[in-house]
């Protein structure tokens, strides 16, 4: 009887999140899966077109350029963010004066709206009166304005902004991981003569393994999915240089209105592109998962 009651309680607690998943996850997914086989503008008649949307997707160079851009964006963000977060976490895990204050400072970007962040960064990076250019010129580091949001540098700028936004969050996860490593391990290592560098490489890193795996996985997924800051900062421009996959999908559903032409929403094609994008993100996450599992086994 007790077991039945326990199972009943388990289901009762699962029920609300199941309903939420059903309504906010499964239903929209089913909706998108249905309409990706249709020509549908969000109103009027939806015309069944079979696999036409996918054929169109294969020859849609703008989309595939956005896929490449996403990989550059995500790769750049990961390469900078992970080591930086780890270094910050290690430093802020030591007995420093004001470390709690510093932790709060580094974490702050996480709680600021990404749209607000993008507006502030526009003020910093814009070419004509951006604060960054002004300071660089004042200190004679550059002589001509740099077009940070122009075609050449826009991707690099968006990556730097993304790093700024992500550092606090992953730093916190690393900190939690570091605090779970017992002090005795370090004590016995130093008795055995291991110096700080050896302790870091041979104790800290391996013992942070599980946290590191989760952080990297979260960072990969977030980087591949992120588009909000880019949408506000550059709208994917100039000339598509910062267009990422989910921003492209968003624009198919909600195109920028322009005076004189009727807004052209493409729900059918947007669903097909959205689904394909989700599959791409899923495959990459799966590959990473398999790789980290294999590495675990090797260890």
């Amino acid at each position: 009887m007790n077991k039945v009651r326990q199972i009943g309680f388990s289901y009762a607690f699962l029920f609300p999140s199941f309903i939420l998943t059903l309504v906010l996850g499964i239903y929209p997914l089913g909706w998108a899966i249905r309409y990706m086989f249709y020509d549908y503008k969000g109103y009027g008649e939806a015309k069944f077109t079979g696999f036409y949307n996918f054929q169109r997707l294969l020859r849609d160079t703008q989309y595939w350029e956005s896929v490449v851009n996403t990989f550059v964006y995500a790769g750049g963000k990961l390469i900078i963010t992970i080591p930086l977060c780890l270094a910050l976490a290690v430093i802020l895990n030591q007995k420093l004066k004001g470390r709690n204050f510093l932790r709060a400072i580094y974490f702050m970007p996480t709680i600021i709206s990404s749209a607000v962040m993008a507006v502030v960064f526009f003020i910093i990076f814009n070419s004509y009166n951006g604060i960054l250019n002004q300071y660089l010129m004042k200190f004679n580091i550059i002589s001509e304005r740099i077009d940070w949001l122009g075609p050449k540098h826009a991707m690099m700028t968006t990556i730097l902004i993304a790093v700024w936004g992500a550092v606090g969050n992953y730093m916190l996860l690393f900190l939690a991981g570091l605090q779970n490593i017992p002090n005795d391990v370090y004590e016995s290592a130093s008795l055995d003569g291991a110096n700080k560098r050896q302790q870091f490489w041979y104790l800290t890193i391996p013992m942070l393994g599980p946290v590191l795996q989760i952080v990297i996985m979260l960072a990969i997924i977030n980087s591949l999915k992120g588009y909000e800051t880019i949408m506000v900062l550059t709208e994917g421009g100039p000339i598509g240089k910062t267009e990422v996959m989910y921003l492209y999908v968003y624009k198919l559903f909600f195109p920028t209105p322009s005076s004189g032409t009727v807004v052209d929403q493409q729900f059918g094609y947007g669903s097909a592109v959205g689904f394909t994008t989700a599959v791409i993100v899923g495959i990459i996450t799966l590959l990473y998962h398999m790789l980290s599992k294999r590495l675990n086994k090797m260890q």
């Binding site: 075609p151 421009g237 004189g260």
Partner: protein
């Protein structure tokens, strides 16, 4: 037994608590939808349960204070016990409307525009007003095919329209020794160069546009240069009923020339319209092309620190071969699913009263598109409006067919060329092929009707 009773009581208590949470969160949701976000503004009337409350959504903020006053006056004086709440949605207005209709939280009345009314009618958002209009209204308000009358039914009525002009900094023009605003593309390129030469040291450049969105930048500039040169502003040739972007070649070349000359504001690629206006108000931009909402912007939003004026946009070769777009034809519309349509119409009728429209025009919020108003109203009391007032060369171009084009859109392709990617002849050839393929597809599916009009005369689309 006690345990059982306890469990039941606890369950009931939890259920009630959850329901209460549900209600409060629902209310919060409603409030979040009906009340504006931080950047929005609203005229929230005092609560009174007996009153019929209606909600009006708009994306216009330039007239916000005046409309607030008008609504307050309606709330105070109407004898039908109606209270109107206005919500100004500053960003993503179209998305907010779609989401509100999808979730059954749409406003009773909404602002519709020349590029949304057609889709809103097809989506079933709007209620026709033919049967509600009085005889006087039927005579007073011009009905414009595809812009307020769709499928034979009227869904909205015009208040103001927008003309398009070259907005220029008189001080920079004088400093560069330019006597009058450019009339041709060659003159425009030359003026931009001269202004940059004299202004660059102070951070002032000849030309700028909001290329963060190429659609918005070209849609307010290249479009109207094409129109006054007798070419459809969006590449559609009404004579042949085919897309043909060939006429845009000189325009895009001129833009590229200004960019290559360094006559454009640095960072124009990421510029939105408001940051552009802020720079113009500071005297950092020689000229740009935009709608007649600019005088209001430089009076209220970014008070101009410079002497500026507006002039007709240049044509390709200096000769005028077509009318310049007078954009508009619609203002308010009623939600077809509103439970308070009668009250909504009463408010709409009030908003379209002569006195309110006349004041709207005179205060300079927009140029009246209603002949009986523009005939009696005084000149708008706002600096810079003179150059925007409609002339015989302003008129309404017909709506071009909406087609779903595969691949890069014309404005993005042109902007790519401006920044040095591709060959313009090949780009135009490719655009013509893809746009016409999309047109043929839309015609075949019955979505679009495109019939050649060999007698179409772009000079005879005069002001309504």
């Amino acid at each position: 037994m006690y345990k059982k009773i306890g469990t039941v009581v606890l369950s009931v208590f939890l259920a009630v608590a959850l329901a209460a949470c549900g209600n409060s969160s629902n209310n919060a949701g409603n409030e979040a939808t009906n009340k504006p976000a931080e950047s929005d503004a609203a005229t929230a009337p005092a609560s009174n349960e007996k009153k019929t409350k209606i909600v009006y959504w708009t994306g216009d903020r330039h007239d916000m204070d005046y409309i607030k006053e008008v609504i307050q006056s309606f709330n105070d004086t109407n004898d039908s016990n109606i209270e109107v709440e206005m919500v100004v949605k500053t960003d993503d207005y179209n998305q907010a409307i779609d989401l509100a209709f999808a979730s059954g939280q749409a406003p009773d009345l909404l602002r519709v525009k020349e590029n949304t009314i057609q889709a809103y009618v097809t989506k079933g958002y709007l209620a026709p007003i033919d049967d509600l209009m009085t005889e006087k209204m039927k005579q007073e308000f011009p009905l414009i095919q595809d812009f307020n009358q769709i499928g034979g039914k009227v869904y909205s009525l015009p208040n103001y329209g927008s003309t398009l002009r070259l907005v220029y900094n008189k001080e920079l023009f004088a400093k560069a020794g330019i006597a009058s605003p450019p009339k041709s593309l060659a003159e425009m390129v030359d003026a931009a160069k001269k202004i940059t030469e004299v202004g660059k040291a102070d951070g002032a450049y000849g030309f700028a546009l909001n290329f963060k969105s190429p659609d918005s930048a070209f849609g307010r500039s290249a479009r109207v240069i094409a129109e006054v040169s007798g070419i459809g502003g969006f590449g559609y040739d009404f004579k042949t009923a085919r897309f043909d972007f060939t006429g845009f070649k000189d325009i895009i070349q001129a833009y590229k020339q200004m960019y290559d000359d360094g006559s454009t504001l640095p960072g124009m690629e990421a510029l939105d319209i408001d940051p552009l206006r802020a720079q113009f108000a500071e005297g950092k931009i020689g000229m740009y092309i935009s709608f007649s909402s600019e005088p209001g912007v430089y009076k209220n939003q970014f008070p101009a620190k410079i002497e500026w004026a507006a002039a007709p946009v240049p044509s390709i070769d200096g000769t005028i071969k077509g009318v310049s777009s007078f954009v508009g034809g619609q203002w308010l519309a009623i939600n077809s699913s509103s439970k308070n349509q009668e009250a909504a119409w009463k408010f709409m009728e009030y908003m379209y009263a002569d006195e309110i429209l006349k004041t709207y025009h005179e205060k300079g919020f927009g140029i009246s598109m209603v002949p009986s108003i523009s005939a009696v109203a005084s000149k708008p009391d706002i600096n810079g409006i003179e150059g925007f007032l409609p002339t015989e060369n302003d008129g309404t171009w017909p709506l071009n067919p909406t087609v779903t084009v595969e691949g890069i859109k014309s404005n993005d392709a042109f902007f790519k060329y401006m920044l040095g990617e591709g060959n313009l002849d090949e780009i135009i050839k490719d655009l013509n092929t893809r746009y016409n393929a999309a047109l043929d597809k839309a015609i075949a599916s019955g979505e679009v009707k495109a019939e050649p009009k060999p007698d179409f005369d772009p000079m005879k689309l005069g002001a309504k």
